[in-house]
């Protein structure tokens, strides 16, 4: 079994898809000889040339709009935006155009575009390069939103995203060096399927993206407290695999939802609403639902402060233990 880093897995998915279909084109700033801001694209322009790797000026709105237009004509662009924060600049072509194209044309025009961008803090890049803005996209009907944590999931889901006939938002965390086992050969992972990363019986932790690793750490700590954690990695935020969430919560009776984005108005609220709106799952709850999210604060530059922003393993442990009042 071989291991690949997160960035290598993403790159391998792109290489395979670009080799399979010449309409798959990587578009973005500095994605050529520089290899992209987070070094995900090295080697692509050397192998595929400027026909399949298009470097653009600093024009996020324009380049994503161009990708939408090209996709309308048969290209399958993979757009790289170097920081998720710049999605604010690209919001018009994504939200007002790509997301609505199939609908507004009654299925006559589609936009088979993948929008890749990294989210999250921990890089010392201060408040404009560290946000977790997934809810910009999850509240927009017409978009699919993926946020894979592991290299293997990233590869399989990115390949599915490229082959999807509509626009797919593919969010990445910045632990690009994280290595893990990635299967050899051709495989895809369906969009819209959560994955149970760890089986357990006492409490369900639902999360996605970078905090999958944080939650995994918390689960290992909780083993010492003899609390068995089931870890549900959503992998896709929209369409949401509600069935897997509900089945797990019905089994454990307790749930903590975790993400790095601020909790107020965040995606955890949606997950919790899905849980409590389902009568059977609501009835199965043995404790109030809980969430552990990022601080309600722009990301501070100061490292000590920045490290306190995202959920820590211990914050998750505390939240889980609070669901077992009799045990305390």
């Amino acid at each position: 079994m071989r291991k690949l880093s997160y960035r290598e897995a993403i790159r391998e998915a792109m290489v395979e898809e670009m080799a399979r279909d010449e309409q798959v084109v990587v578009i973005g700033e500095d994605v050529g000889c520089y290899g992209g801001c987070f070094k995900v694209t090295p080697g692509l322009i050397e192998r595929f040339g400027t026909r399949q790797v298009i470097e653009t000026p600093v024009s996020e709105e324009g380049l994503v709009g161009v990708a939408v237009g090209a996709a309308m004509m048969g290209m399958r662009p993979i757009v790289e935006i170097m920081y998720g924060d710049f999605s604010t600049l690209a919001a018009d072509p994504i939200i007002n155009h790509a997301a609505k194209m199939s609908f507004m044309t009654a299925g006559q025009v589609s936009v088979p575009m993948v929008y890749r961008t990294p989210m999250g803090s921990g890089t010392g890049a201060a408040a404009q390069h560290t946000q977790s803005l997934e809810v910009l996209f999850t509240n927009v009907p017409g978009l699919k939103v993926i946020y894979a944590a592991t290299p293997a999931d990233a590869k399989g889901l990115l390949k599915s995203a490229v082959r999807d006939p509509g626009p797919v938002i593919f969010l990445e965390h910045k632990l690009y060096g994280t290595e893990d086992i990635v299967p050899e050969g051709e495989y895809t992972i369906p969009i819209g399927q959560a994955d149970i990363k760890r089986q357990g019986t006492d409490v369900t932790i639902v999360t996605y993206g970078k905090t999958v690793f944080t939650a995994f750490e918390a689960a290992q700590i909780l083993e010492d407290d003899e609390v068995s954690v089931e870890l549900v990695d959503l992998r896709t935020l929209r369409p949401l695999d509600t069935a897997t969430i509900l089945a797990s919560v019905r089994k454990t009776g307790r749930v903590v939802v975790v993400h790095e984005a601020p909790g107020f108005g965040g995606f955890a609220g949606e997950v919790i609403a899905q849980i409590v709106e389902d009568p059977a799952t609501f009835a199965a709850l043995r404790a109030p639902v809980a969430r552990v999210c990022g601080k309600e604060l722009p990301t501070p530059f100061n490292k000590t402060l920045e490290m306190q922003l995202p959920p820590s393993p211990h914050a998750i442990v505390d939240a889980v233990l609070a669901l077992f009042p009799s045990a305390v």
């Binding site: 324009g62 044309t105 006559q108 006939p165």
Partner: protein
């Protein structure tokens, strides 16, 4: 600069402008009587641009138009019935009633649709041209936009990219003097938007947008340049929107005197008078043309008003994802 249409071409273009004018007036009447809902953006007064661009180009050239898109769509050859059905929200409309008057498209006639976010369609058109060039297509894309949209950042970004990549885009600025209520004299930094081409290394020119013979010739020249040089072109057509921005616009931002002066430059009147003086048209023939076009429109509208073929909500859901997939 201008070309003189022969009789056949003149009749075709005059008919198209008359159809566009009467179409707009019909739509205005249907909105006033509340038989159509939503909003609408009429191009009365801008017919020389609406009718004069696409017929001057290859039928396989694409257009990306704007919220003010009715005339452009007619000029590409769309059926009046499918257009009006869309305005009524019917399932036999161009977008099955899901787009409405600001989102007309007709792929068969190479109309890729219109963005109602002013200026955003320019980026889409630029991307379409990128793919056309990649696929060695001989065709170009017309990116329509107005003086208001000319101030959008994405228009500047798109022009820069089209220039550095040598894309076959005809940036077609329909300068009608007003972005909604704001006059270009106060909102646009230059007296001619064509001047902005210089900043992007894009060849450009500015022409009288109320003279269809001028517009037609300028578009043909621009297309020839795009094909020969492998570069985009910016063509500004100066015209005037006789109608308000959208329905319920009382036009408080301009004077009736200004409107009267522009009405002397009515594009239909200009071509009509010219054809009469050339012996290509009689007043009677013109009257007959108007009567015929009006009768066709009235028939279609009357027929559609009685129809109630609308999509169900489930059918609407099925178009949200290109794979028809889950919500």
């Amino acid at each position: 600069m201008a070309i003189a249409f022969d009789r056949d071409r003149g009749m075709a273009m005059l008919s198209l402008m008359v159809r566009s004018r009467l179409f707009e007036q019909k739509v205005e009447a249907l909105f006033s009587s509340h038989e159509m809902h939503g909003t609408t953006h009429l191009a009365i007064g801008q017919e020389a641009v609406h009718a004069g661009v696409s017929p001057a180009l290859d039928p396989n050239d694409w257009i990306v138009t704007t919220h003010r898109c009715h005339g452009h769509t007619l000029a590409k050859g769309s059926s009046v019935e499918a257009m009006l059905a869309e305005f009524f929200g019917l399932s036999n409309g161009l977008a099955k009633g899901l787009g409405g008057s600001m989102h007309l498209l007709d792929l068969e006639h190479h109309n890729a649709g219109s963005s109602a976010v002013v200026g955003s369609g320019v980026a889409l058109a630029t991307g379409m041209a990128l793919q056309l060039k990649r696929m060695d297509s001989p065709n170009l894309v017309v990116a329509f936009f107005g003086d208001g949209a000319s101030n959008r950042g994405v228009v500047h970004e798109s022009m820069n990219m089209a220039s550095i990549w040598g894309l076959p885009v005809l940036f077609l600025c329909e300068h009608n003097l007003y972005g909604m209520s704001s006059c270009a004299d106060e909102m646009v930094s230059v007296d001619s938007i064509a001047k902005r081409g210089v900043a992007y290394g894009i060849e450009s020119s500015s022409v009288d947008g109320n003279d269809i013979e001028v517009v037609y010739a300028a578009v043909q020249d621009a297309a020839a340049y795009i094909h020969k040089e492998g570069k985009p072109y910016l063509l500004e057509t100066k015209t005037y929107r006789f109608s308000g921005h959208s329905k319920n616009d009382q036009r408080v931002y301009r004077t009736r005197e200004e409107e009267r002066v522009w009405s002397q430059k009515d594009p239909i009147k200009i071509l009509r008078d010219r054809m009469v003086s050339r012996g290509h048209l009689t007043e009677e023939e013109f009257k007959r043309l108007e009567v015929q076009e009006q009768a066709v429109l009235d028939d279609i509208a009357e027929h559609l008003i009685k129809q109630r073929h609308e999509l169900t909500l489930d059918e609407a859901y099925s178009y949200m994802y290109a794979d028809g997939g889950s919500r």
